[in-house]
Symmetry: C2
Subunit: 364 residues, 2 copies
């Protein structure tokens, strides 16, 4: 079975089909994040309604809570969440590093840590991570990797990258379920030479797709663009490419232009919970007093249920009154906006008009 097929190109931007056990999904696509088995505030029914067909969960957090026994009992995460379309799972190595409570210890074997929930000790080896992701039953499993934090020295990044390569080999070796796709992750920080080397190494292994990891972690946009360029130039064209952690319209467009196919980020939902939203005119902050009396919708050009139903004034009030409904409605709008952008991107590539679309979104 062909697992990825490019169907259209416009410059280096492309439309393709990613085929997984649950269906065929047109790229480029953006995934909302359901870290612990739920997109914050939103039902799966709404996720589908707003146009998403894939999301990403965190294997490591699900392994801790509810635990694999519960997911096994449901015969996988799809049933547990009642979602029939595509699920990616990240290994969770990043989560272990980014949570302060976790006393992490990376070695070439894997990752030791203390559960923040009950203090129990755990070890995540590449083998163990593959078992967890297979039990969860996601469409696409991500390798265990070690992501160097932004600002790390070249030596630290080099060490993390070497370890990521070791883990990648171990993951491939231990991944049994061939109905599940396995993606490798290239690291390298913002060091061009390391980025190149990692992209080449991960590409040399037999992964179903390749992720660009360790970007959008605080580095300037120009540095990110350069790293994407180097990565893509050192990866085979025919493989799907997934830029992890990117979810702003500007960054998505820049990355698609270079040939990236898949995205995920908490950015749209996290910003929504803080009242910051995407509109066709650029960003809008709902708590600003100028919206207090506005009878307009958030975005006149948007067809989402929030824009069709509520005034800015009402949404402003919900935030000022600290009503949870406000966070929910803005999360919905931001994800809808982004899914609508992805659809426009796919259409523009098919019509070979990607440059024109990019100009339209220059306000971000």
């Amino acid at each position: 079975m062909e697992r990825f097929k490019i169907t259209h190109k416009s410059g280096k931007a492309r439309v393709g089909i990613l085929s997984t056990k649950t269906g065929n999904y047109e790229t480029p696509f953006f995934m909302p994040v359901a870290t612990k088995g739920a997109v914050k505030y939103l039902e799966v029914e709404e996720i589908e309604e707003l146009g998403a067909y894939a999301f990403i969960s965190n294997a490591f957090l699900l392994y801790l809570k509810p635990g694999l026994d519960v997911i096994k009992k449901h015969k996988g995460l799809h049933n547990f969440m009642n979602w029939k379309k595509c699920i990616f799972t990240d290994s969770g190595g990043f989560q272990v590093q980014s949570l302060n409570d976790f006393k992490d210890k990376f070695s070439d074997k894997g990752l030791k840590f203390k559960s923040p929930f009950d203090g129990s000790l755990h070890e995540l080896t590449p083998k163990k991570v593959m078992e967890i992701e297979e039990t969860i039953g996601s469409d696409v499993a991500m390798c265990l990797d070690q992501m160097p934090l932004y600002g790390s020295s070249k030596e630290q990044v080099e060490e993390a990258t070497k370890r990521t390569h070791l883990f990648a080999e171990q993951c491939i070796k231990n991944h049994k379920d061939k109905t599940q796709l396995l993606f490798g992750i290239a690291q390298g920080g913002t060091f061009p030479e390391l980025r190149k080397r990692s992209s080449q190494f991960i590409s040399s292994l037999n992964f179903d797709g390749i992720a660009l990891g360790g970007l959008a972690v605080g580095e300037p946009l120009e540095a990110m663009k350069e790293m994407i360029k180097i990565s893509i130039a050192n990866m085979p064209e025919e493989k799907p490419k997934y830029l992890m952690g990117v979810g702003s319209p500007k960054e998505i467009i820049e990355a698609v232009e270079q040939g990236v196919d898949i995205f995920d980020s908490v950015w749209p939902t996290r910003n929504a919970r803080h009242g910051k939203i995407f509109t066709s005119e650029g960003y809008l902050e709902i708590e600003k007093s100028k919206h207090k009396n506005s009878l307009e919708s958030l975005d006149k050009t948007c067809n989402c249920k929030v824009c069709k139903t509520y005034t800015k004034s009402y949404l402003h009030h919900l935030f000022k009154a600290n009503e949870p409904l406000g966070k929910k409605l803005l999360s919905y709008h931001n994800l809808f906006f982004l899914q609508n952008l992805m659809q426009k991107i796919r259409q523009a590539i098919k019509a070979n008009k990607f440059k024109e679309l990019k100009d339209e979104y220059s306000k971000f």
Copy 2:
């Protein structure tokens, strides 16, 4: 125009039609609470979908935030919230008393207080309250009243009741918008003599309906039942009767049996946010570990979208993981359950089988 018409009776329980400016609404009905212009976690579309056709908001809190200018700009609360059916507004006197931050001062003129939002000084007179509720444009406005806290002395309750009567006369005098219904509120604490006197006095004024106030505030169920009995016996049969603050299945059934037509309470949604739900088998607490692995729905006999979609295990996980979606889904279920109960109550009265229905719900 006839504003209330009794269509069926089963014992003292009755079905009727309350006619307001937005439509005709069959009683007995239960109203979710949208204190600040939103039912917590739920969209108006969902409120309608789960079977409610009326909710109650707090005039006083809306007057402070977003302020009457904002509501006026929308031409009323219906447009502000995008809700086309029935809205009740409570004056907010109770809110002033129950929030600690409010330095309240009741006098025969009204109620002075400091806004908890900006420290500004306000005075709520009966006249002012009528103006606020008319501007909000609810279907049914409630009078300003003084609710004695449970445990107050007879003298305190007597004083509050007398003042409530004064306010009632002032409200009637100052209520101009005849498309809006006006309900009086009888008080009297749990003192039979005061309860009787207040019910008689409020009934003697020309209100469109009469509320039983100051109940379900901590008194034993038996005391509440006795007070309802005394109240109803001293009110004209043809007026709609509204028991404020009651929302448990058991209490609703007891009150309907005595002739109550309308209810509201935060009980179903507040309990849901704490993981406590109604089922046909009685109460269920979703956080209990026995639900961790359960593939069952919350309630096998329930047709709500939550019961049709998710397992107890998943809902348990959402609560354990502190996902806001859990609170939303359980709020939806509890309100659906209660609306379904109200529908069964109406059907049972129409079929003159209210007693049989009461037996069915003996588990609560």
